[in-house]
Amino acid sequence: MKWLVLLPAVALAVAVPWLVDDYTTATLSRLLVLGLVGVSVALLTGVTGLPTLGQTAPFAAGAYAAAQVGLHEVGGPPVQLLAAAGVGAAFALLTAALVVYARGVVVLMITLAIGELAITVASRWKAATGGTDGLIATAAFDSDRARYLYALAVVGVVVTLVLLALRSPAGLLLRASRDDEARMRASGHPVTAYLAGAYVAAGAIAGAGGALLVTTQQYVSPADFSFDTAALLLLGVVIGGAGSMLGAVAGTALVFAARDWLSGLLPGHAPLLLGALFVLTAYLLPRGVAGFDWRRIGRRDRAASPRAVRRANQEA
């Protein structure tokens, strides 16, 4: 059943650059890139239970790494991609100790600070980042269509890998850690190490997104990693269902497309409408936000949500 939906969707995604103009193709490439970063946000927010506003930081680290690899003619897009993923992971490894011990709203605050630090560094460290002027990257592919297909392939591969990982025992361990951390520890599981692992993996994914940004946009500047971007990523992931990777890609792409469309439609008033979108999401999708598990929605009447069970556990 799932394949009946998925196969035509993939076919359409591949065919799209032949159906629309170059400008739209380039826009779609950028949305794909943000969708990939959305996957890293969803991995932390929905699966691991660490709500984050800071994935713009490894995203930026990866982007600048990829741009530098390109500018120094070390290698083409695949090399840039690997370098960026590595730098993103290394960044996450360095900041993991700040994040994985905290929970809930404190994680939001800390990741927000990490994201802001990244922007500060990006705008001041001119030698590596070009400062607020940004860096113009070396052109990799010769058409928007090729760049789009490359981005699509990378996003497809990464999302597939993430989905496979989540269906493996590793995914079970992460979900169990999110469900009840104390019970995990009582069963001998080093929860903090698992969270750190997920955080580093999310860093690598966001870093890879950075490389794709450089390839598709051929330009990178601190404006790509603003606090607004971080908040929009979180919004997109929540709309997509937080725990769902494909939902994260779709939700993130939708949110950023809406932003671009709104700012074109009503210049100057986009923040107002965007703000309204945030508020509406918070009101209309509280269950998606709170439960992180949309598969359950269809059978809510029969099955209690994990949260409800936990509450029952506590009251018993």
Partner: protein
């Protein structure tokens, strides 16, 4: 040391300003468990009102104070009302909602007051330099330091000497307690966000000549006060004050001493403190 007297004094002014704003954030975070991403917008309301009403005369000062504080308090109360349907502890929804309101509120302020940074006129009598140990220093800033220090002491006394203040501190220490006391959580939330808005509005009116109203004010104030709250240890009045003064000095004296490193210094301090205390904080936070 002498050439750094002025930046150091500016740092005190800046730090006290941040303390008043951050106190409101600590309150909403600590007592109501809400990360209010619209907190900077509440400050901006105060600052815009000050810029709008101030005409260089003395009469405008109480007027701006009343209007600014009332406006921000009303906005804080409205925020609490909008947050009512969201469950306590659902941080993600709260963050989305408050960020959305911050975006929308910022947009409304810009359409009301224009997209430029607004100048703020202080009373003419204070709008002049005075002599301070051989340096000239803006009279307004000196007065601001005194007023802000009085507010800070007042806050401290209110929190440590009054019954309500002790309840607030107890609630920050043990979030479960509010529930156990049988106090209606909605009323707590409204009260806390109203007071938090009043503090932000007060800071906005008084601090408008220091961090002036403009499209980026809300974001700047929010981020700086978040840094202060985290550095201050999330729960202590004295800690928040020390952190606020430290951030103020880093932003002023730090820039004067180490112009290139100052912006990193702030976050490096934050990272270091968090890393050093991560394990200890885990135990606190995991119960929250």
């Amino acid at each position: 040391m002498d050439p750094y007297l002025i930046p150091a004094l500016d740092g005190v002014a800046y730090g006290l300003l941040l303390f008043v704003v951050a106190a409101g954030l600590v309150l909403s975070f600590g007592v109501a468990g809400i990360l209010n991403l619209a907190h900077g917008t509440l400050y901006a309301i105060g600052a815009y009102v000050a810029a709008w009403l101030a005409d260089g005369g003395w009469a405008a000062v109480p007027l701006a104070l009343v209007a600014g504080v009332a406006g921000a308090t009303a906005a804080g109360t409205a925020l609490a009302g909008l947050l009512t349907p969201v469950k306590r502890g659902d941080h993600l929804t709260q963050a989305l909602l408050t960020f959305g309101l911050a975006l929308a509120g910022g947009s409304l302020l810009v359409s009301a007051f224009g997209p430029e940074d607004l100048p703020v006129r202080v009373p003419a009598a204070l709008d002049r330099p005075i002599d301070l140990a051989g340096h000239s220093y803006a009279a307004y800033r000196l007065v601001f330091i005194v007023v802000a220090a009085v507010i800070a002491v007042g806050l401290y006394l209110a929190l440590t000497r009054t019954r309500a203040g002790m309840l607030v501190r107890a609630a920050v220490d043990d979030p479960q307690m509010v529930a156990c006391l049988g106090v209606n959580p909605t009323r707590v939330r409204v009260g806390v966000l109203a007071v938090s808005g009043a503090l932000a509005g007060l800071a906005g009116v008084l601090g408008a000549p220091i961090i002036g109203p403009g499209p980026s004010t809300a974001a700047t104030v929010l981020l700086l006060s978040l840094v202060v709250v985290v550095l201050g240890g999330l729960n202590s009045v004295v800690g928040t004050l020390v952190a606020a003064l430290a951030v103020g000095e880093i932003q002023t004296l730090g820039v004067a001493l180490l112009p290139t490193a100052a912006p990193f210094l702030l976050y490096a301090a934050m990272a270091l403190i968090l890393a050093a205390r991560a394990r200890g904080l885990l135990r606190r936070w995991s119960t929250a």
